[in-house]
């Protein structure tokens, strides 16, 4: 392939959605393009599926010299991203017709898509930052799309965190670029292994990218934003965009270069904490989409834990990386399918059979998420666990048990989800249209396939496929607990309630008080102008004028003259 065509192939992936955005602004093109828009992710999908395409190229005229390309990690992420966006696009094509601002939705949808696709291709920091920002800001339009006070609040909080994330990312990238003297992320990762600014840069990256990833305690925007956005947007938000932070960490941290025990410990602990906190908060939600958002927080704990493992034992990193990528792929697809499924159920109008079939369809990704045997979830988890055993950590056994317990939690969460969905399905009114079915089924199929034939994608060998017992016991435990709760109906199940966004409620209260305290008083209006500026009547000027009148008298003037003469004579 010539230089030009390989550049073009890479550029077209993020560019196509943007071109569609431009096209949508032209009234004449609006309707045909709205039909085309759902398919904008197809070039990305094709690129991800064509193994020989995507060799890194340098595009000197773009940004500050862009480097685009696909490595193994990037390919997995691109696959996930493109698939999800395609499915969500098809879904949205039907789902979002009801909105009065249909076109506006597509504009933001496509812009976000462009950013999300672009960042998976970016190998240098500036391109990554550009696409990351494009995605983050455009997603605001998706979150606040419905324009209710709930979505506006969610959007506001999201935007705040985006901006804070942006500036911190900016700081981190500038620092990194300065130290590495290069814009390539792999150079940065190498340099970060050994520099005095390492803690600062890693810290900044953790916060900036952690916001997007939903790392506790920066997670609170997720339970607000995901339910606020229209369903297809929630799907990509939770499935694909949340992974952008992860991808950034994978690319920029000095993984495989150096062992950082401190960071490793911190990340493993944080990962576990997220896994459990997400479950705990999610269980007490009354809305399925909020619950799913908490589930995402919980799920993102696992890749974080994987990164922690990678930092503990650099030698095994390439393998851990594969596992983490696969985990991301699995979670993204499953979560996307779940969100779309929620939308299906809320828009279900038809025979009870159809209803049950739909619920059954939701069960597939739910089980995958729970890590049931023969699902992608089981594969992903076992992949992580395997490298756990290879790591030099002392507490391996404890960790394995804890992971199992986390899976139990996830299963419980899924039970709760099904329960909530069952209740919500009774209130659904409208019927799902063709596009919604297409999008959703596409994801369900892929998720199902993910459990069966993952090998060609991620390089997981067949012998790595987990033993049934390992995968099954957490599920059985969860089933036990769920049955017990169902049967006993303990009082806390009704009275306890974690508000969506947990911490933010407290933060908002404080912020409001602060804002009231520093609120600036309105400026007084411009004073009415006097006809004569006041200073013209200053006492000094009046005095001067009197003196001037005195000087005009001939006698006084004569005396002045004689005085001057005398002084001159004396000098």
């Amino acid at each position: 392939m010539t230089e030009w065509s390989s550049q073009l192939v890479l550029i077209i992936v993020p560019l196509l959605p943007l071109l569609l955005v431009l096209g949508l602004t032209i009234p004449a093109l609006r309707h045909p393009l709205e039909r085309l828009a759902p398919l904008a992710a197809i070039p990305g999908l094709l690129l991800a599926l064509t193994p020989q395409a995507g060799a890194p190229v340098t595009i000197s005229w773009l940004f500050l010299g862009a480097h685009l390309g696909l490595d193994a990690t990037g390919r997995t992420f691109l696959l996930l991203t493109a698939l999800l966006w395609l499915a969500a696009g098809l879904y949205a094509h039907s789902y979002c017709r009801k909105y009065p601002n249909y076109r506006r939705f597509w504009i933001f949808f496509l812009a976000t898509m462009s950013g999300n696709l672009g960042l998976t291709l970016s190998l240098d920091m500036v391109s990554f930052y550009v696409f990351f920002t494009l995605m983050s800001f455009a997603a605001y339009g998706l979150i606040v799309h419905e324009g209710t006070s709930f979505t506006l609040r969610a959007g506001k909080i999201y935007l705040w965190l985006v901006i804070i994330g942006e500036v911190l990312l900016f700081a981190a990238l500038v620092l990194a670029a300065r130290i590495a003297d290069s814009l390539l992320m792999k150079d940065v990762a190498a340099v970060l292994a050994d520099t005095s600014a390492q803690p600062l840069i890693i810290g900044l990256l953790m916060i900036a990218l952690g916001i997007k990833m939903g790392i506790v305690p920066l997670h609170f925007w997720l339970p607000l934003a995901h339910p606020a956005a229209p369903v297809p947007a929630s799907a990509v938000l939770s499935g694909a965009m949340i992974k952008a932070g992860l991808l950034g960490l994978l690319r920029l941290l000095p993984l495989g270069h150096v062992a950082l025990p401190g960071w490793s410990m911190a990340l493993i602990s944080l990962g576990l904490l997220m896994a459990f906190l997400g479950v705990a908060a999610g269980l007490f939600q009354t809305q399925s989409k909020t619950l799913l958002a908490y589930s995402s927080i919980s799920q993102m704990g696992f890749p974080l834990l994987g990164i922690g493992l990678g930092l503990a034992h650099p030698a095994t990193w390439p393998l851990v990386a594969g596992a983490i990528s696969f985990y991301a792929l699995h979670h993204g697809l499953a979560k996307g399918a779940l969100f779309l499924g929620v939308g299906m159920i809320l828009n279900l109008k038809g025979t009870p059979v159809l209803r049950l079939a739909t619920l059954a369809g939701v069960l597939i990704p739910a089980l995958a998420l729970a890590g049931a045997p023969w699902t992608s979830g089981a594969l992903a988890k076992s992949g992580l666990k395997e490298y756990l055993f290879q790591s030099p950590l002392a507490e391996v056994q404890t960790l394995v048990v804890l992971l199992g317990l986390a899976a139990t939690g996830t299963t419980l969460l899924m039970c709760r989800l099904v329960f909530l969905l069952f209740k919500e399905s009774e209130q659904s009114t409208s019927a799902s249209a063709m596009g919604m079915w297409t999008g959703w089924l596409l994801l369900i199929i892929v998720v199902t396939m993910g459990g069966i034939r993952p090998v060609w994608l991620t390089g997981i060998r067949p012998e790595q496929i987990p033993k049934l017992v390992d995968a099954a016991w957490p599920l059985l435990l969860a089933a036990l607990i769920a049955t017990a709760v169902w049967y006993k109906r303990p009082p806390f199940s009704r009275n306890w309630n974690v508000p969506a966004g947990d911490m933010i409620v407290i933060i908002e209260g404080m912020a409001k008080r602060l804002a009231d305290a520093v609120a600036m008083r309105p400026r007084p209006a411009l004073p009415q102008l006097p006809r004569q500026p006041r200073w013209q009547n200053l006492p000094m000027l009046l005095l001067l004028w009197d003196a001037e009148k005195l000087l005009r008298q001939l006698t006084v003037a004569g005396v002045m003259f004689i005085l001057l003469l005398l002084v001159l004579l004396l000098l």
Partner: protein, 496 residues
């Protein structure tokens, strides 16, 4: 060797301006033709020069003044940067002003002074020594006054008085400092690397004071805090004036002057040796933050933009004061970038005022639906100001950040972050209002053919500048892009 092309560049706005003064109010077509021809010719001449300067062939023109003093016009790379910016934006603003002032009184007067202003700005850009610079700098001060008070309301006159008081005080101090420096150091030709580093060390005290005076006096126009008050007040001027002059020509003239002083009079190395740059960077940093904080509290759109200008122009100074090549790139490129972004914003604010009578931010609810194009341009400008990549504002901030690290002053990064946050705080709510809030008042429906929101002269300029904001951000390294030029300048300045 005298290059008459410089004279041609200067007179391509001066002559039309002078002729326009004599025109009757009704001769719209002739006036428009003159204006546009002048602007196009200026761009043409600049384009002719462009390649010569890129090849390091500097055009020069010298006229003797009094005895051993000369009026020096020279086009070096830095001149070209400012010159191209002002000439290009002049063309756009002229188009805009033609639309904006349709049917309003005193148009000949307006366009006449407008052309004079641009000529003065051109002169500032082309000035090859301190004296020439001072001459055109003062000319700019005076020729802007009629534009500030153009509306003739008491508020406008009040603003004009304040403007004059500030800028003339600054001008007098600048004048004094220039004379003093000339008396100490002889002819003050702008030379990369500075001209005064060879002076006797016993003069260093005086040189420090002169530097402070120069920076303070130029800082009046560059709206350095605490010398900035005139700028928000001057926002009563018509929108094209606010757009071109307050966003670009006047404040940039101050910033450009400081660049000249630091680079081409004192020289970066020498000013760093005298410890002059750190206070400057602190001042700039304070201005950056102060401007943003004040902008937060403004409800008047143009005032908010004005305080934003106060803040943004000091990025340039910060970049200069950091004295590292990368920071210099960041500062200088912001000279152009900020101009593009801010002029977009002011054009849009003018469109709102002219078409819908909106002046206050809380009247802007849902205006995105009524004027989608204008508001798209506004959004691009605002996001650029925040520094959202890949818009031009990001490029500036990126280089400033890198430069501050290279200069060993990482605290600047914190300023950049804080400023970005503040920018977001005062721009994003506006954007939200525009696009996501319900319309609260009924605006007259567009009566133009094809459903256009307003007439072309008002619509095209902001769209063009907004497109450039995106274009120069994405294709930052293209030949002739601001970043390309600025790298050229910086390489020459630092002798890299």
């Amino acid at each position: 060797m005298n290059d008459l092309i410089l004279l041609a560049i200067l007179s391509s706005s001066l002559l039309p301006g002078l002729i326009i003064f004599t025109l009757a109010e009704e001769s719209v077509r002739l006036r428009t033709t003159l204006n546009l021809t002048g602007a196009l010719f200026k761009l043409l001449f600049i384009a002719l020069l462009f390649f010569r300067v890129a090849e390091r062939e500097y055009a020069e023109l010298r006229l003797p003044l009094l005895a051993d003093m000369e009026l020096v016009l020279r086009a070096d790379a830095l001149s070209m940067l400012f010159l191209t910016l002002s000439a290009f934006l002049w063309l756009l603003t002229t188009i805009y002003a033609i639309g904006y002032l349709e049917n309003s009184p005193h148009r000949s007067r307006f366009f006449g002074f407008f052309s004079l202003c641009v000529s003065a700005t051109t002169g500032i850009a082309l000035a090859g020594d301190m004296i020439t610079f001072v001459i055109f700098y003062e000319a700019l001060t005076i020729s802007t006054y009629p534009l500030v008070v153009h509306r003739g309301t008491p508020a406008a006159l009040h603003a004009g008085r304040i403007y004059l008081a500030y800028t003339l005080l600054g001008g007098v101090v600048l004048f004094f400092a220039a004379v003093w420096l000339r008396a100490i150091a002889g002819p003050l030709e702008f030379t990369p690397g500075g001209v005064i580093s060879g002076l006797d060390p016993s003069l260093y005290g005086s040189l420090t004071i002169i530097f402070a005076l120069l920076v303070l006096s130029l800082g009046v126009k560059a709206a350095l805090v605490p010398l900035h008050s005139w700028l928000p007040t001057a926002m009563v001027a018509p929108a094209p004036v606010s757009a071109l002059l307050h966003a670009v020509a006047v404040v940039k003239a101050g910033a450009f002057g400081i660049v000249r002083v630091v680079h081409d009079i004192y020289g970066i190395g020498f000013s760093a040796d005298l410890n002059l740059l750190f206070p400057l960077s602190v001042m700039a940093a304070i201005t950056v933050l102060y401007g943003s904080i004040r902008a937060l509290a403004q409800n008047d759109l143009k005032r908010r933009l004005a305080f934003s200008t106060v803040s943004q122009v000091s990025y340039i100074l910060m970049g200069i004061a950091l004295a590292s090549p990368l920071a210099t790139i960041g500062g200088l490129v912001h000279l152009v970038h900020q101009g593009l972004m801010k002029i977009t914003l002011f054009f849009c604010a003018g469109n709102l005022a002219e078409t819908l009578g909106i002046h206050k931010i809380d009247e802007m609810d849902g205006v995105g639906r009524r004027m989608p194009w204008t508001m798209t341009a506004f959004t691009v400008g605002a996001l650029g100001m925040i520094g959202v990549p890949p818009l031009v504002g990001f490029i500036s901030k990126w280089y400033l950040g890198l430069g501050s690290l290279a200069a060993g002053q990482p605290w600047i990064i914190i300023i950049l972050i804080a400023s970005t946050l503040l920018n977001a705080c005062y721009f994003l709510p506006v954007l939200h209002r525009i696009w996501f809030n319900k319309e609260q008042q009924q605006w007259s429906k567009s009566t133009l053919a094809g459903g256009r929101e307003t007439i072309w002269p008002l619509l095209a300029p902001p769209l063009i500048t907004a497109a450039l904001v995106i274009f120069f951000g994405i294709f930052a390294y293209l030949f002739g892009s601001p970043l390309y030029w600025v790298e050229l300048i910086t390489t020459r300045e630092y002798g890299l």
